[in-house]
């Protein structure tokens, strides 16, 4: 009897102790300190089976040669899922991560998850609409990161830039700056990735599990929409074309390896 009464009161006490002085993160900070994470998503910028090297020449499905000078994308609203029990653990929605092919320190997204076995991960490629209309942000959302449109407020959710002899634009450049967070041309896409058959990410306190995810540039150019550099070298405003490109790149991810 006593215990039944005490338990909820103790919870209140503990909550009072922990909540009272907690710092508020204005949607941008990374509350996970590097030494506190127990799970990491390790993104590998790639072109099919090759690791992406900036300024090297590759070929897309249409036979067009191209090189990449910038490849960046936002990841947010990460869910870890166990399909056996349908348990879902949602990482703090206020975390936004910019993965930038030019900066390998950004490839590893460090997270703190509830200890469990997971075999599926889901995330949004991009930055949710609320954060697009909430004024000045910092951390990975700092406009200095070059992923914010200053004349038509909003984040560029994913960016692919480079050169291609197939491009009809000035200096053979091609530029895909994909954004738009509202209405029918919203480019926010949820990506759900099942792990390789039979593999689980074992999240335990005090150790870290790493989920390696390939991000394949060549996936930008097809499925479900054909994107030929020759036909469309520049997409840099929100609209139906940006939406189509987002439907392609949301399929660029594959979980290649789990290490516990």
């Amino acid at each position: 009897m006593k215990n039944r009464l005490l338990a909820p009161l103790l919870i209140i006490t503990l909550t009072a102790l922990t909540v009272g002085c907690s710092k508020e993160f204005s949607g941008t900070g990374k509350p996970v300190k590097p030494d506190e994470y127990n799970l990491a998503l390790d993104f590998k910028p790639s072109v099919d089976s090759l690791r992406l090297k900036l300024d090297s020449v590759y070929t897309n499905i249409w036979g067009e040669n191209y090189s990449v000078s910038a490849f960046k994308f936002y990841i947010s609203k990460i869910d870890l899922i166990n399909t056996d029990s349908n348990k879902i653990y949602s990482i703090n929605a206020e975390n936004y991560f910019l993965v930038d092919a030019a900066d390998s320190t950004t490839w590893t997204v460090k997270l703190k998850s509830a200890p469990f076995r997971y075999n599926k991960v889901a995330f949004i490629v991009g930055v949710d609409s609320l954060r697009n209309v909430s004024g000045a942000q910092t951390g990975d959302l700092d406009p200095a990161k070059g992923m914010f449109w200053t004349w038509n407020s909003g984040y560029i959710m994913a960016k692919l830039e480079g050169k291609s002899s197939s491009s009809t634009a000035a200096n053979n450049k091609f530029e895909y700056h994909i954004g738009g967070f509202s209405g029918p041309d919203n480019v926010l896409r949820k990506t759900v990735l099942l792990f390789p058959f039979g593999e689980y990410s074992e999240v335990l306190p005090g150790s870290s599990s790493v989920i390696t995810i390939k991000a394949n540039v060549n996936a930008w150019f097809y499925n479900p929409h054909d994107l030929k550099i020759e036909d469309k070298p520049v997409v840099t405003t929100p609209g139906p074309e940006a939406k189509a490109v987002s439907e392609n790149y949301s399929k660029m991810f594959t979980v290649t390896e789990i290490s516990n």
Binding site: L9, L17, G20, C21, S26, G135, P143, T150, S153, G239
Partner: protein
């Protein structure tokens, strides 16, 4: 037994809360910035800006003002915000249709006056900027305006000892980043409240209109006030007021933002406050006098698919009505605002 349990636990909760309060107080003991009050003028609606996300402080405002007048926010040092937004012109560019920017270039639109911005839900003539805090990024990075890069601006600020001191005063530590720069600039912009014109004093009962001003006010209310709605003198909507499109600028207004045909040629309704000081008029500054504007509404309005329905029949005024209208519009000049030393460089 049950009672004792509850009491003991209650005590534990109390102690926990006390410990908590004390631990918080310790960090608050350091002298922080002093808060600044935002006064909503009588008769004004609730501001659109959420002040809880950026509480106004004297130190934040001071920092914002320094940034506003600092040329280092531009590439070559010559174009602070204040170069196009001049206080004596109610923070528009005096006597310029378009303003000057980096490398002898012109802007593509007329610089609007800056006042009563706390009530604006979106910035720019086309409403493309959805939050005032992000507004400064547009002129800072536009190649024909300040032409600078955000990372460069932040490095310049970081290299300056006085900025370090001012960021500490405003935010508690010496971290200098774009978010803090933008929030302090916003504090300065929010404080630019213009509500002390003769019109405002008449509303308060401390002044009276002349006969001409009063007649002008009556005409204004019947013919202009549905778009230039009191007390902001704009309803903040986007409308096509029938201007002939400029072949050179090819500016379709809000359609560029929304991608919607029905927004073609629509621009934000400008406030008429301080109209005497903010000439030339319209999004491209094509009219230099109030008379030219009145001529446009009387005979110049062009029909098009998106023309505002309120202008279908034009707005004709007699000669006397025009005189009275001009007299009334001049009562919207806020001479204390344009001389307010708090906002001066």
């Amino acid at each position: 037994m049950k009672k004792t349990g509850v009491t003991i636990t209650g005590l534990v909760v109390l102690i926990a809360l006390c410990v908590n309060i004390n631990s918080c107080r310790k960090s608050d003991a350091r002298k922080g910035p002093s808060s600044l009050t935002f006064n909503i003028p009588a008769g004004f609606p609730a501001p659109a800006y959420d002040f809880t996300s950026n509480p106004l402080t004297q130190e934040g405002f001071n920092l914002g003002k320094k940034l506003f007048y600092d040329g280092r926010l531009s590439k070559d040092g010559n174009f602070p915000c204040g170069s196009c937004h001049q206080q004596f012109a109610a923070f528009a560019t005096f006597d310029h249709d378009l303003s000057h920017g980096f490398n002898d270039q012109f802007t593509t639109r007329n610089a609007p006056g800056l006042y009563n911005l706390a009530w604006h839900k979106a910035m720019h003539w086309d409403g493309g900027i959805n939050h005032i805090e992000n507004q400064p990024l547009a002129p800072i990075t536009a190649p024909n305006e300040m032409a600078e890069d955000i990372t460069n601006v932040i490095s310049k600020l970081k290299a300056d000892e006085e900025y370090k001191r001012m960021f500490v005063a405003a935010f508690g530590d010496d971290e200098i980043n774009s978010q803090r720069m933008l929030k302090s600039l916003t504090q300065f912009m929010l404080m630019l409240v213009s509500a002390d014109s003769k019109y405002d004093r008449v509303k308060k009962g401390t002044a009276t209109f002349t006969a001409a001003e009063q007649s002008g006010y009556v005409i204004f209310q019947s013919k202009c006030a549905s778009c230039h709605k009191e007390p902001l003198f704009t309803d903040l909507s986007y409308r096509n007021n029938g201007l002939v499109i400029s072949n050179f600028l090819q500016d379709f207004g809000r359609m560029r933002i929304t991608n919607k045909k029905e927004d073609s040629l629509k621009f934000k309704v400008p406030s008429l406050r301080n109209i005497e000081l903010t000439f030339p008029y319209m999004h491209d500054g094509r009219f230099y006098t109030i008379d030219q504007v009145l001529n446009h509404y009387a005979t110049g309005v062009q029909n098009s698919a998106t023309l505002d329905p309120l202008l279908q029949n034009r707005i004709a005024l007699s000669t006397t009505e025009r005189l009275n209208m001009r007299a009334f519009l001049k009562t919207l000049t806020d001479s204390s605002f344009v001389k307010d030393s708090r906002f001066a460089e």
